[in-house]
Amino acid sequence: MTTVDIAAPATGRISAASSARKAFVAILWRDVFVTGKELWVLFIQVALTPLFMLFIFAKVLAKQGFVSGTYGHLLLPGIVALAAFLTALQSVAFPLVMEFGWTKEIEDRLLAPLPTSWVTLEKLVIATLRGLFAAVIMYPIGALVLGSAPWRPSGFPLLLVVILLGAWVGAGIGITLGTLITPAKISIMFGLVLTPLMFTGATQYPWPTLSSMRWFQVITAFNPLTYCAEGVRAAMVPEFPHIQPWICIVVLLASSVVFTFTGMMTFRRRAYS
């Protein structure tokens, strides 16, 4: 049996920057590892709601003649955006509520030799990756449900940019919520935040056509998800009316700055007393 020699002199202590980098990679690897182990959980968590939405609105209602056959092609980009945004948000918000409020699991990572802001950054990265993953699987599944899907390779760069930014914003909102809310109030978060976010995000309708309902158009303009959905539409189905891609990118960038900042602040406040 090898014994662990605790009293061994701490020879060659690595520099703080290098230890922080190593710790960052290690905590990111921990989250990737756990995500991989529980991929089906993530899948159910993220894919089911958008999938049902797609099925009912674009398949069932179209079959019955309530919506036109082309609606599916308008809805799918919105659903892809929704999946990226919502997955990033939920997959970081719920675990954080539990880890800070109940299991205290995160403490071991808060005590790792890296700045607390890096732990927040790691959460933003893993949540964004999960959002990206959700968008990637949502597309083929959506195509299967609809029987067809828009395909526009020239829109891929824009698609990637708005999906990444949308997921990042979702992650920032998720961290902010996850560090503000106590386990007891987790159901309020669902009702008060998630549902309005889902339905005011221009995922099921193109934003420019809302001009006939000015008040709702104004409300949706405040939801970052709107710009993600509009951006995806601009990339995949530019034939539908959509907000200019540069506006989408600018607003998403600004939102990611805002919510990265709020996430960092609330995370820090939760991690320290």
């Binding site: 605790i6 290690a26 205290k104 071991d108 005590l111 030799p113 007393s273």
Partner: protein, 369 residues
């Protein structure tokens, strides 16, 4: 304030912590130092400021003012470097439930930059050392409280910290698990790891620590070795005597004489607890049954419906309590020497040993928190 006999591992200087929206300081100008390789116990009632102090030292609580130094590092200025040198075993499990016990160890080591081969070897060694090898790859959720505690100690050790913080390490553990944890702590101390533990268990503190600091209301009330603190509890070391005064003598005269002895701080007759018995007549033997200051014997032995017979002091045994400033055993000789010429008959002796708990109560009071 480095002591002559060792370098300082942990030092807290004039530490103040005031939480927002509170009108009192949780930690109020606390200062103490822990030597390298020392096991230091931080004792205090709930809410005394122990957890906050440990929180500051472990980088989780921001101090309002003051300094906290750990392994030569200013914790408040460079928390990242401090984290590399410390480890925390919390009172409640904070194990990573998404990982197996073994992975809890290897991932923790990875966070602290231990290479893959090395962390796997250390994890295996620690799992064996802590008797968890058989259950190393199951769910953490299936672990009992004692197993979780052992795993958390193993996890704390895997990155070879210089200072280990243990928060009530054996609260809620069964006696077996408690002994196991105590043994591990003693081993660590032999290996020279500095340990700072907080506890409510006075036996634990007396058993394990080299020195303790007693805090209350965020201030340090006393700091010394448990033995010295107990010794310092003046008048708390107690010798109880049952004496039958000789003819013409009485209890008051005896008390006056006993107080005159060196080492006796105070003497009193334990009247309330042990009413004076009528001597002779009732068939009592010389010594009291159930002696010990108001024990069950006192009330039961009272003769039923007994007529209050006034008996001169000289005839009845009396119980006297001496509060000492010295070891009780050393007073036996002088007491006997004093009693013999007065023809007083010593029938029972009881030594009341003060404990760390008495020190604790003396300093922090009896009030509930």
């Amino acid at each position: 304030m480095a002591d002559a006999d060792g370098r300082v591992a942990v030092e807290v200087i004039e530490l103040v912590k005031r939480y927002p929206k509170r009108d009192v300081n949780a930690v109020d100008g606390l200062s103490f130092a822990v030597r390298e390789g020392e096991v230091f116990g931080l004792l205090g009632p709930n809410g005394a400021g122990k957890t906050t102090t440990v929180g500051v030292l472990t980088t989780r609580v921001k101090a309002t003012s003051g300094k906290a130094i750990l392994a030569g590092i200013d914790v408040l200025r460079d928390p990242v470097a401090a984290r590399a040198r410390l480890a925390v075993v919390p009172q409640r499990s904070n194990l990573d439930r998404a990982l197996t016990p073994r992975q809890n160890l290897t991932f923790h080591a990875a966070y602290h930059g231990v290479g893959r081969a090395e962390r796997n070897a250390r994890a295996a060694a620690l799992l064996e050392q802590f008797g968890l090898l058989e259950q190393a790859d199951i769910k953490v959720d299936w672990y009992s409280g004692g197993m979780a505690q052992r795993l958390m100690i193993a996890r704390a050790l895997i990155h070879e910290p210089e200072v280990l913080f243990l928060d009530e390490p054996t609260t809620g553990l069964d006696p077996q698990a408690r002994r196991f944890v105590w043994d591990r702590i003693r081993e660590l101390r032999e290996r020279g790891v500095t340990i700072l533990l907080t506890t409510h268990d006075m036996d634990e503190a007396a058993e394990l620590t080299d020195r303790v600091g007693i805090v209350d209301h965020g201030k340090l009330l006393a700091m010394n070795t448990p033995a010295a603190l107990i010794r310092g509890l003046s008048g708390q070391s107690v010798l109880e005597l049952t004496v039958t005064p000789g003819p013409g003598d009485n209890a008051d005269a005896l008390i006056a004489a006993l107080v005159g002895l060196d080492g006796v701080d105070k003497a009193e007759r334990v009247a309330a607890a042990m009413p004076a018995f009528p001597g002779g007549g009732n068939g009592f033997p010389g010594g009291f049954p159930g002696f010990g200051g108001g024990g069950p014997g006192g009330g039961a032995a009272r003769p039923k419906g007994g007529v209050a017979t006034v008996v001169p002091d000289g005839a009845a045994p009396v119980q006297l309590r001496l509060y000492l400033t010295v070891e009780p055993a050393t007073m036996l000789g002088p007491v006997v020497t004093l009693l013999a010429p007065r023809s007083a008959e010593l029938t029972d002796v009881h030594i009341g040993q003060p404990s760390l708990e008495d020190v604790f109560i003396e300093l922090t009071g009896r009030g509930l928190r």
